[in-house]
C-alpha cells in the first residue's frame, strides 16, 4: 500500500488535478501492483515446473530419482480416482489428518494451559524450567520409535508424537506472552478491582494471544510432521505409509505426489488459521494485518 502511495506522489500531477482523479490513479496503481505480483508468482511456478519437466525428459536429471511433474500429476490422478495400492487415498489422508488434528488440539490446549500457569507462577516456573529445557532438547522425532513401541501401530502413537511436536512450541510462546504482558495494564486491572482469576482470564490471556497465535501458525505444520514421521516409522495407514511404500518400490513420482498432498493440506490449514486469527484480532491496528 505504502509503496503504491509513493508511486503516485512521484508521478507529478498538474496543478488543479482533482482529488477524485488522484484517488482513481491511486486505485489503479494498487490493482496494477497486485496484478504484477500475481503474474510473477504464477510465472515463476510455471517456469519451475516446465524446467523440471524438460530437464527430466531430456535426461539432464535422472527421472528415476527426480520423477517429473507430468508423472506426479498422473500418479495423483490415479490415486484420487483408483486409489493407492494400499486402499483409497482419502482414507490415508483422513487417518493422517485425524492424527494431526487431535495432536494439534491437545498439544496446543495443554501448551496454553501449562504455559499460562507457569507464566503466572514465578516459583513453579523457576522449578520446572530446567526440566522443560531438558525435555525440549530432545529432538522430537527420535521419540517416534519409542511411542510406537509403547502405544502400538495405531492412532495413539502418532497423536503422541504430534502432541509433543506441538506442545513445546505453544507452551513457549504462551509462557513468553504471559511474561511480556504490559505491567501498567496489569496494575490498572488490579486497581480497577480484578481478582487474580479475572486478571488471568481477561488481561493476561488476551494479551498473550498474539504470541500464542504466532505459535499456532507453525505448530499445525509440526503436528503434520509428527503424524507423518510416526507413520513412516510404523503404521498401517496414512500419508507417511504411502511415502514409505513408494520409497520401498523406488516410485519417485509417488513420493512427490504424497508431498504435494501434504503441502496442499498444510496450506489450507494455514489459511484457515489466518482467518480465525483475523476474526479474533480485529482490535489490532491495521498495519499488523498488512504484514501478513
Amino acid at each position: 500500500m505504502t509503496d503504491a502511495a509513493m508511486d503516485i506522489s512521484a508521478g507529478a500531477f498538474r496543478p488543479g488535478t482533482s482529488d477524485a482523479e488522484i484517488e482513481a490513479a491511486a486505485a489503479k496503481a494498487v490493482t496494477h501492483r497486485r496484478r504484477t505480483v500475481m503474474f510473477w508468482r504464477i510465472a515463476i511456478l510455471v517456469a519451475f515446473l516446465a524446467l523440471w519437466e524438460i530437464a527430466a525428459r531430456l535426461a539432464w536429471i535422472d527421472p528415476f530419482f527426480y520423477a517429473m511433474p507430468s508423472a506426479i500429476a498422473v500418479r495423483l490422478y490415479e490415486w484420487t480416482t483408483e486409489g493407492t495400492s494400499e486402499g483409497p487415498l482419502w482414507y490415508h489422508l483422513y487417518v493422517t489428518m485425524e492424527e494431526s488434528v487431535i495432536g494439534f488440539v491437545t498439544g496446543s490446549v495443554a501448551g496454553i494451559i501449562i504455559g499460562v500457569a507457569l507464566g503466572r507462577n514465578r516459583m513453579a516456573a523457576d522449578i520446572f524450567s530446567i526440566y522443560i529445557k531438558v525435555i525440549n532438547s530432545i529432538p522430537r522425532v527420535v521419540l517416534a520409535p519409542i511411542f510406537i513401541m509403547i502405544l502400538g501401530l495405531g492412532l495413539a502413537s502418532k497423536v503422541a508424537l504430534a502432541f509433543v511436536m506441538v506442545f513445546f512450541v505453544v507452551f513457549h510462546n504462551a509462557f513468553q506472552g504471559v511474561r511480556e504482558a504490559d505491567r501498567a495494564m496489569i496494575a490498572n486491572a488490579r486497581i480497577l478491582g480484578a481478582s487474580n482469576w479475572q486478571l488471568t482470564r481477561s488481561v493476561i490471556v488476551p494479551s498473550a494471544m498474539s504470541w500464542i497465535f504466532a505459535s499456532l501458525h507453525v505448530s499445525f505444520g509440526f503436528a503434520i510432521i509428527g503424524a507423518i514421521v510416526g507413520e513412516f516409522v510404523g503404521s498401517r495407514y496414512g500419508i507417511g505409509l504411502l511415502i514409505n511404500i513408494a520409497k520401498g518400490s523406488f516410485d519417485a513420482a509417488g513420493m512427490y505426489a504424497a508431498i504435494v498432498i501434504v503441502m496442499v493440506v498444510a496450506l489450507g490449514a494455514e489459511y484457515l488459521m489466518t482467518m480465525v486469527e483475523d476474526r479474533l484480532a480485529k482490535w489490532r491496528p491495521q498495519p499488523l494485518h498488512e504484514t501478513q
Partner: protein, 269 residues
C-alpha cells in the same frame, strides 16, 4: 464515626522505600517522606525525573509496601488494594482488545456489578467525557487525547474517593493537554475526590493543584510545600497569564531548579 470524617484522605508518615537491585545492592527511592492529603484536596507532586515520585503513588495503592514508616488511607493503614482508589497511568493502560465501552465497563464488572448496570453506567461516563460516538471503537482507532479520556472514564466510573495520577498527560501535545486539564478539573469538582497528581511539569502542577509538593533529587524527600491560593473554578488556558500564577511559578521553580540541577549533575557524573 465523627472523627472518621475528619481524618485526612492520605497520610504518609516518615516513609522509606528501598529496592534491591539485581546485583544485590539496595537503592533508596524514598527517605523520611511525609505527606498529608486532606479530603477533597488536590495535591500536585513535582520533582526531578526519576526521583521517586511514582513510588509514592504505588505505596498508596498498596501495589508496593513501605520499607519503613506508615501509609494510611482514610485513617486506616494500607493492607491491600483499596477499592476506593482510582489510578490514571502515564502510559496507555487501556485493554487494546476491548472496545471503548468494554474498557469503561471493566471496573464495575470486575467488582461484580450486573452487566446491564455496568453498560448503563459506562454509557453515562462516556457521555460525560464526550465519547458517546466512539463506544464501539477500539483504543488504537482513537487519538492520544481520546484514549486519555477513556482512561478517565474508566477510573471515574468506580467512584473513587482518592484519585492518583502518575504524569497522566505527559504524552499528550500541549493543546490537548490544556483541554484535558479542564476536563479533569470539571470531573474532579463533581466527584469531590482527593487527588495526588504526580508531574514534572511545574505549570501543570500550579494550574491544577491546591498544594504543590516539591521533592528533592533521589532519594526523594519533601523539600517544600506551597499552597496555591488561586480562585476556583480555574480556566487553565488563561490562568497561566495571571500575575499571581507567574509569581508562584518563579518562586517554586527557583526551589525546584536546584534539585533538577543536582539530579542532572549526578546523571552526568
Amino acid at each position: 464515626m465523627i472523627h472518621e470524617k475528619t481524618t485526612p484522605a492520605i497520610e504518609l508518615i516518615n516513609v522509606s522505600r528501598r529496592f534491591l537491585s539485581p546485583t544485590g545492592k539496595s537503592l533508596t527511592a524514598l527517605r523520611d517522606f511525609t505527606m498529608t492529603v486532606e479530603r477533597g484536596e488536590f495535591v500536585a507532586v513535582v520533582g526531578p525525573t526519576g526521583c521517586g515520585k511514582s513510588t509514592t503513588l504505588n505505596l498508596v495503592t498498596g501495589l508496593a509496601s513501605p520499607s519503613a514508616g506508615e501509609v494510611r488511607v482514610m485513617g486506616a493503614p494500607v493492607t491491600g488494594i483499596d477499592p476506593r482508589i482510582g489510578f490514571v497511568f502515564q502510559s496507555d493502560a487501556l485493554f487494546p482488545w476491548r472496545t471503548v465501552i468494554e474498557n469503561v465497563m471493566a471496573g464495575p464488572l470486575f467488582r461484580g456489578r450486573a452487566k446491564s448496570d455496568a453498560t448503563a453506567a459506562a454509557r453515562d461516563w462516556l457521555a460525560r467525557v464526550g465519547l458517546s460516538r466512539f463506544e464501539q471503537h477500539y483504543p488504537h482507532q482513537l487519538s492520544g487525547g481520546m484514549r486519555k479520556r477513556v482512561a478517565l472514564a474508566q477510573t471515574f466510573i468506580n467512584g473513587p474517593e482518592i484519585l492518583l495520577m502518575d504524569e497522566p498527560f505527559s504524552a499528550l501535545d500541549v493543546q490537548t493537554r490544556v483541554l484535558m486539564h479542564e476536563e479533569l478539573l470539571r470531573l474532579w469538582s463533581e466527584a469531590k475526590a482527593s487527588v495526588v497528581f504526580v508531574t514534572h511539569d511545574l505549570e501543570e502542577a500550579i494550574a491544577l493543584a491546591d498544594k504543590v509538593y516539591v521533592l528533592t533529587a533521589g532519594p526523594a524527600t519533601v523539600k517544600s510545600i506551597y499552597t496555591i491560593d488561586l480562585p476556583r473554578p480555574r480556566v487553565v488556558a488563561d490562568i497561566r497569564y495571571e500575575q499571581s500564577f507567574i509569581d508562584y511559578s518563579r518562586t517554586i521553580w527557583a526551589d525546584l531548579k536546584e534539585e533538577v540541577e543536582t539530579s542532572y549533575a549526578r546523571a552526568a557524573a
